[in-house]
């Protein structure tokens, strides 16, 4: 059975020394949330994840969800775990204080999400979707809707969903047909079928708040004719408690590859009462608010699973004795050396480790920008921060989840045949990781978002907040005798990224296929350079601290060694990607469709 220990030391290092978390405390409303407070929150979350969520992860996968006469039940232990989750106040952590939230910085939510996803991804789906619904309502809902629905979403007493997909439309939401007909009291009657609705029905909460995309009778066709509605599972009594059923029926649940403890529902809405959220025909706006937050959260799923898989692979590699080291016996008292002596096993472990630590730093760095965007008094700073988040969102989503799958798979490989056996838990991580590459906008769509929307937007403005600081850091660090070995390879990769960026934008002006053909390679290249930026910063910090370090000497030593591994063994992938990008769209598009 796998184990999990939340990486609190690393989180503390990132908050304190890498991303300058303390500057957030100067933002309005954040004065009380210094690093110590933050760490005590994270310690609480770690304990909850390790002791409550992780132990029910494997049986949740084995047992799965069940449906009986339209009512979905979650695996044993989930309901009580969820109650504890609510009682401990976790859902309200970074929610708005006006609606009963605790108002913690969003940055911390990233750290908590990583831990939840690492310990029990299926469980994480429930609060994750509630948070998305909360966020969309908060940003776009009318005051009365907010007053009615937000407080219980914030406490977690009710949960939320996002109802987008229909049988005929996944990525292309312009095709959706669910109808919304105006009723005399200003509400709407919603009718239609939705599929792939995570947490669409379950036994954890008294009510479920669905956010549903539907089309008004006179709406224009396509994406510009979609409105967003709030549709509860149960209508409310005058006192605000759940009352009559609202015509939302769970028809069936899917049998899936992974996240089996999270019910993926087919929902039928039959004249269900719904209320418009935001403006008529502007539903995609609200949905994008939800999706952008959700995309970052999905990125954290990749990281969380990669982390838990890494921890278990490391202990297996240390314990399992197989073969002898190529350079001589390392464990003379045993029948064989532990796996960890083998260079190729180390290559896998170092790769996963370097990704995890780099991605953790990057995610928290992005998180601070969300806080700057939400709280900074200067609108110019808010816009710059938002531009940075917009740029990094597809990268965090797609690069983190692609790596999440690759890393869990590498970790499984270290187990050999045992990795393929359920009991060891490694194959569940691989299966669970796979969905993150697909939902909330498949990774190919993320890549298109990056090259098609984010790159050309406002003359490349979004790029400035990544390229300028890194360019300055490189200019400074390549001069530094100690940092040079880290900065030089990164500077080379950075130059490739600049060239590729210019190449794609110029080429795409005359042929959009060029951008499409380069998109996935480009996103990965960007992800690698972004992690390189984090590793350069971490190396700089640890190099400075090492000479005087005492108790954390091995921590900083490992950081520097991992940074070196990243720069020399992972970052060079950029050059291969660059060659592929520069080869253009021709080879991709040459073969006629009939030739396939």
């Amino acid at each position: 059975m796998p184990t999990y220990k939340a990486p609190l030391d690393d989180m503390k290092f990132v908050l304190n020394d890498v991303i300058d978390y303390s500057r957030l405390t100067s933002l309005p409303g954040y004065a009380d949330f210094d690093v110590d407070t933050a760490m005590s929150v994270l310690e609480g979350a770690a304990q909850f994840c390790e002791e409550v969520l992780h132990p029910i992860n494997q049986n949740g996968d084995a047992e799965g969800c069940h449906i009986d006469h339209g009512a979905v039940t979650t695996p044993s232990g989930f309901k009580s775990a969820y109650q504890k989750y609510v009682e401990s106040g976790w859902p309200a952590l970074s929610a708005d204080e006006a609606f009963g939230g605790q108002g913690f910085p969003q940055t911390l939510r990233f750290a908590v999400e990583e831990m939840i996803c690492a310990s029990n991804l299926s469980f994480g789906m429930f609060p994750g979707l509630s948070h998305g619904a909360y966020h969309a309502l908060l940003m776009h809902g009318a005051d009365d809707l907010k007053a009615t629905w937000l407080p219980k979403l914030v406490t977690g007493e009710w949960s939320g969903t996002m109802c987008l997909t229909e049988a005929q439309c996944g990525t292309d939401l312009g095709l959706l047909t669910t109808k919304a007909e105006p009723r005399s009291d200003g509400s709407h009657a919603i009718t239609g079928n939705k599929i792939f609705i995570s947490a669409g029905d379950h036994d954890l909460t008294d009510n479920i708040v669905h956010l549903v995309l539907a089309r008004l009778p006179d709406a224009p066709s396509g994406i510009k004719g979609i409105s967003l509605f709030i549709v509860p599972k149960f209508l409310l009594h005058a006192d605000g408690t759940p009352g009559a059923a609202n015509g939302v029926r769970c028809v069936s649940i899917e049998h899936k590859m992974g996240i089996k403890a999270s019910p993926t529902c087919v929902l039928a809405f039959e004249h269900s009462v719904g209320w418009l959220v935001g403006e008529t025909n502007k539903g995609m706006r609200g949905m994008f608010t939800m999706m952008n937050a959700a995309r970052l959260a999905v990125g954290m799923q990749g990281l969380g699973l990669s982390e838990v898989a890494y921890q278990n692979a490391v202990s297996y590699a240390k314990d399992r004795l197989q073969g002898r080291s190529l350079t001589g016996v390392k464990n003379p008292s045993g029948p064989a050396d532990p796996l960890i002596v083998h260079p190729d096993v180390r290559r896998s472990l170092m790769t996963i480790r370097a990704f995890n630590e780099g991605a953790r730093a990057l995610s928290l760095w992005v998180g601070t920008h969300i806080d700057m965007h939400e709280k900074h008094p200067d609108p110019a700073v808010r816009k710059d921060a938002d531009d940075f988040v917009a740029l990094m969102t597809p990268i965090v989503k797609a690069y983190f989840t692609d790596m999440g799958f690759e890393c869990t798979n590498m970790a499984l490989q270290i187990y050999g045949g045992h990795g393929y056996i359920r009991e060891y838990g490694m194959e569940q991580f691989v299966r669970d990781a796979r969905i993150a590459q697909i939902y909330e906008g498949a990774n190919g769509i993320q890549a298109l978002d990056l090259v098609g929307r984010k790159l050309p937007a406002e003359g490349g403005r979004l790029l400035r907040f990544f390229f300028h600081p890194l360019s300055e850091r490189l200019q400074r660090t390549v001069q530094d005798p100690q940092l040079k070995e880290f900065a030089e390879p990164l500077a080379k990769s950075f130059a490739r990224l600049q060239q590729a960026t210019q190449f794609i934008v110029m080429k795409a002006m005359s042929n959009p296929d060029e951008a499409g053909a380069a998109s996935t390679d480009y996103l990965r290249m960007f992800g690698l350079v972004a992690l390189g930026d984090m590793w350069l910063r971490m190396a700089e910090v640890s190099l400075a601290k090492l000479p005087t370090a005492t108790g954390d000497r091995s921590f900083h030593d490992a950081k520097i060694k991992t940074a070196r591994f990243f720069m020399t063994k992972m970052l060079p992938e950029v050059h291969g990607l660059f060659a592929r990008i520069m080869a253009g769209a021709g080879p991709v598009m040459a073969l006629e469709a009939e030739g396939f």
Binding site: G460, R461, L463, R464, F467, S471, Q498, Q502, S510
Partner: protein, 781 residues
Amino acid sequence: MAIEIRRAAVIGAGTMGSGIAAQLANAGIPVLLLDVVPPGATDRSALAAGALTRMRTQHPAPFMSAEAMALVTPGNVEDDLEALHEVDWIIEAVFEDPAVKAPLYRRLDAARRPGSIITSNTSTIPLNALIAGQSEAFCADFAITHFFNPPRYMRLLELVSGPQTRPAVTEALHAVGDACLGKGVVVCKDTPGFIANRIGTFFMYCAMHEALKHGLSIEEADAVCGKPMGLPKTGIFGLTDLVGLDLMPHIMTSFHATLPAGDAFLTLPTTFAPMEKLIAAGNTGRKSKGGGFTRLVPDAKGGRTKEVVDLQTGDYRAERAPQLASLAAAKGRNALQTLVSFDDRGGRFAAAVLAQSLSYAASLVPTIADRVSAVDQAMRLGYGWAFGPFELIDQLGADHLAALLTTHGIAVPALVAMNRPFYRVHDGVLQELLPSGEYAAVPRPSGVLSLADVKRKGKPVMKNVSASVWDIGDGVLCLEFTSKMNTIDPEIMSMIRQIITTVGDGSGAYTALVICNDGDNFSVGANLGLALFTINIAAWDAVEQSVADGQQTYAALQHAPFPVVGAPAGMALGGGTELLLHCDAVQAAAESYMGLVEVGVGIVPGWGGCKEMLLRHVAPVQSDPAKAMAAAGHVFQTIAMAKTSTSAADARALGYLRNTDGITMNRDRLLADAKAKALSLVPGYTPPGPRTVVLSGARGKSMLMAGVLAMAAAGKVTPHDEVVAGHLASVLTGDETDGTTPLDEQALLDLERTHFMQLAHTSGSLARIEHMLATGKPLRN
């Protein structure tokens, strides 16, 4: 012998008369501007003098320069008639009433020199009515020259001769109108409203009524008439506001009084209810405080928002962006066909308006003009239509129009029934369909060289995505920009370098280069979007390289062993002006708007603009430190305030053009003039040698900045203005120079590049570039 126009007189100092006088002066012709003596006036020429005063501050400016302003002499028709003896051309622009004009003509006839020309600027009265009762000599020397408002800017001149008019008079007017006044002269028959107003007024009334009938808002009607049909942005209702709503019924009455029975014009309703209501309320258009169909009202933000009349209710409401499916669909190759076939309000409106107005135009040839090309030209130049009616019919297809007419119950005019294209290209020559069914070349005034004609005849000598090079004959090449808004980008730079290689030492097939294009604007400067993107990704080496490339390319062109003539028209900004500064000579269209406007986007001119201005203005006077400082101060002010010329003459005053650079009044003649200038430079051409200039250094910089700091203290300069001005002052004073060492061209270029790069690193400059790209306006940060 040809009649020469050396002096002229304009009678009537109203809007049209004074504007015509100004344009004559712009052409360098001294003008007497006369009007009546106001009762009891102390200044008996107060009307003409007042018009001159008014025109000094008028926008858009009627005069191109202060020199032109001095050429107009105010007077009155009682004391100054004798002076008419000295003039070659008298233009009458008084009230549109034969009872006023006839006695005036008799007095003018008595006062004028025999053989001088008299014309009327009438827009409504037929020539035969004007000459009734006048002397035989008068009739022989009389014609109608109908200008459009404002006379400096509207390029149409309708020319109507009578049966008695001497051919020499017509020829002289044609020549002076074309080459001196810069007009497209269109010969019209003596029919009511001539060409442009006849068709234009019909179109306006027709569109207003159809808009109301089909339930279109003003914004929707103007949008449908705009992009797809090619009418100017002013729109139908905007144009009515400009003309004055109260004038429209008079124009209508005049047409009703003069048009022959059976004319389709007479079937249009004579009144338009929403307009009547506005006139009754005193809202007669732009000239009235209350506005017209549109008005600007102060808003909460301290700006002004546009309000528009709701045609159905007659009340004002906030302007709304038009939302019509037909508008969205009407794009691409068959935009017009798509539009008229589209089943929504917009489509039905377009179909009704085009059916009536295009068939009306087609029914008028050859009654109002011999050629369809004359009609199209009149509508393009007089009403600013992108396409004349016959060009629109070609876009729609004559058969398509015929079918449309049948469904609307309108008779198909003979020209349309021929079902042949009105224009075609035959053997590389643009031809038009004659009423006889034959095709003949579209006439070009003699001496006009059109790049469009050159392009029809053959292929470019060289070409890339942003530029083409054409052989315009006699060994002269023409570099044409083809990038968006003719922005200057790396492709254009590369083309210039290719030209330098191709022409070589000028001993081969080509001996000279002209830089000219047919666009509305010569060039709006460097491609800012590209620059911003490169800056955003921190590709600083690439940014600096693009500055260096531009510097080297322009310098190489300047020092190439063959003459280069720049020929701007419209805007030539930033890098466009810098290119012109590097040409051996410039032949500029009169309407050339030049400026080193880089500070508006937070940078300094970096492609040799600072260098050329210093070498041109400071170097010649450098032996006298006081004069050199004054010259540097002038250059500093010009660039720091991003001064843009309001005409070619003004560009001379600002120092962007030399006195030896030429000005062409008629844009159509620009290429021919530029080519002639280039050929005149070929014999014995030697490129300029290396040049140096002594700059004043730190002391000079502090003097330049003293003015900036004073303005900053007065709140007239923004914080980032001060930053940019500081860098500009450094460049223009040589930064660390000791005040005695001559700086060579490369040193000046290095200064430009260094300070350009420093500014490109500031967030203030990036904000300026972004703002310019997003809004088209400079940011004052």
